[in-house]
Symmetry: C2
Subunit: 395 residues, 2 copies
Amino acid sequence: MKLRLSKRALQEDFQGNFVKMILEVAAKGDLISFAGGLPNPASFPVEEIKAAAIKVLETKGSYSLQYNSAEGYGPLREFIANRYRKQGVNVEAKDILITNGSQQALDVISSCLVDPSDTVLVEDPSYLAALQSFHLYNPNIKTIDLNEDGADVEQFRESMNKYDHKFFYAVPNFQNPTGITYTNAVREKIAEIMKGKDTFFIEDNPYGELRFKGEHQKSLYTYLGDQAILLGTFSKTVSPGLRIGWIVCGIKELMQKMTEYKQLIDMHTSTFVQVVVTQYFEDNDYDAHIKKIIDMYGKQCGYMLEAMDKHLPDDMHWTHPEGGMFVWATLPKGIDAVEFYKKAADAGVAVVPGEPFYEAKRGLGTLRLNYTNSKPEDIDKGMSILAKVIKDMRK
Amino acid sequence: MKLRLSKRALQEDFQGNFVKMILEVAAKGDLISFAGGLPNPASFPVEEIKAAAIKVLETKGSYSLQYNSAEGYGPLREFIANRYRKQGVNVEAKDILITNGSQQALDVISSCLVDPSDTVLVEDPSYLAALQSFHLYNPNIKTIDLNEDGADVEQFRESMNKYDHKFFYAVPNFQNPTGITYTNAVREKIAEIMKGKDTFFIEDNPYGELRFKGEHQKSLYTYLGDQAILLGTFSKTVSPGLRIGWIVCGIKELMQKMTEYKQLIDMHTSTFVQVVVTQYFEDNDYDAHIKKIIDMYGKQCGYMLEAMDKHLPDDMHWTHPEGGMFVWATLPKGIDAVEFYKKAADAGVAVVPGEPFYEAKRGLGTLRLNYTNSKPEDIDKGMSILAKVIKDMRK
């Protein structure tokens, strides 16, 4: 038989193909890896999840193994809403839809808001799997450059005047891939420009709790209320393997449509996992747990920045994240990041070139470097190898 | 702000609206319910899942809480493939994609195969949440009537000649909603008609293991090989709250596209749940467990058929399922099922009218009755109430 795929399946996936290529290179050998985006497994609360699972199966066994409602487990939605309120963000449990990680949240939002050729706005560079998710819905994607203090406000204003966006998707805290955080001033200006327009700010915030330096910046919800849709996840603070994320949306009609869509795509997120993670929160000090991760990642980031200062040439520059998992580095002029990452892999170090994080820009000299998963000595050794690769490429 | 939903979100959802109406009626009071589709929680292996969760967290804790690959956990795919092979269906682990229940499998398949206006073929009546899932992709849906021995072969032949289908979606074992099972003869004829054409048989098989009477009928895979795509789930034999289903697809290119799509919509199914359920299978006699469910449901079905014989009028007829969870009944001529279900709910019994299971037919006198979740005395009492409602409606 002849296979007749849908147009959607046949669509070119630049980001996807690029990631595949990276994984193939990375699979070649035993590399020092700055390429991943994985939380450090040393941070997983294995014992506590075990205790929670036992308790759940002993006290709510049948409930936790039965079908549940599409919007998610009530007590988990309550816990999340409470946590927002403690942080000064006025969210109610009814405004929360539980998803399989925040990756699914992207699909749910796009499905309910985006028709083909609608314009959506993203950061440049942006989270690559968000770009891929949006591409499924064939929007016109417009981009806003990132500065050290967040999205470029003047570009944002121009884009708002010029295009009719369905939403602006951004990761304002410790962005993936750049590690950049929007200042309160930038948040406020962007909110002013958006306020009252028929468009949403999608605030994706997987790393917000992982601040090891500086001051907490306010959620866009504080400035925009229901015009901000928030995405959250426990992937970086509890465990990504559970697959628990959520959407906060204060607009009842949209929440209802998203819940109906969630029901059609997979009924609901695992009851068992939702009840277990809720039990974990009930019986443990989540803040103390996060504090441990912050201490770990803060140190790791410090090691990496130190090693970069020590080994990398003066004509390179990089971001200095105050939290999250990534440093974003720019290679010396004339060195192509794609060529660099191949040579680096041959030399024993995996990095991710910036290319797939851009919607359209190509041939840039940017790299994403992850620091959460390497030993200090490997970070140092890895950076010295990268420095040597740069030196060789200059010849 | 003005909310601007996508066309997809604004689309009329007859099935969804109908289900909402049913749930509202059912929520009114303390009803005897034949309306659900839930497995009996008495069948959940709570203790065994607890033991598995403990073992997993003690021996593979970090692994089970980390990100995993989109296609699913290797040993789980091996287990599923082995089980197929034991049943004479020649499946390999690489042909299996793990999904969040088989509901997600429907979305994955549609996304990769269906463009707007493509024709897809379904049973009439069909599984209502499959209809809803397909509607998201705007196909032309054509229908095939069901007879007691399966899909109407002559109608199927005509439809194959007249339309260019992307696939035929069917539940050949103990169908939802009718309880009907395709005989091997019907399977063979349908396979003959399809063989070599550029179309798939999507065999959704949530209830296949739950046969309490009669002979096992062969999977369409036996007749059609890679031209059959199989959907499976542990929702009806282990627990629906875990959310583990899968797709079997022997066509490498399609499997790759589906895996890429799965990665974009939610990365992967919960690692934790996949590893726990695999541990459960390693340490327990799954067949013995299924045997217990079969015994339970066989008895429950017997009670229901007995009560129907005893109470319901002679001018009604119904299916006699050999497995699964549902009986399909046809009311006496002139009694509308939608009116009936409202009156039945007022009288204290919840049923599901057939209406939302049909793509287009309306105003029929069919009902879906679930027997897996009621006590024998409630089944008897419920049927006597339904008989009284019918009697009153005839006046």
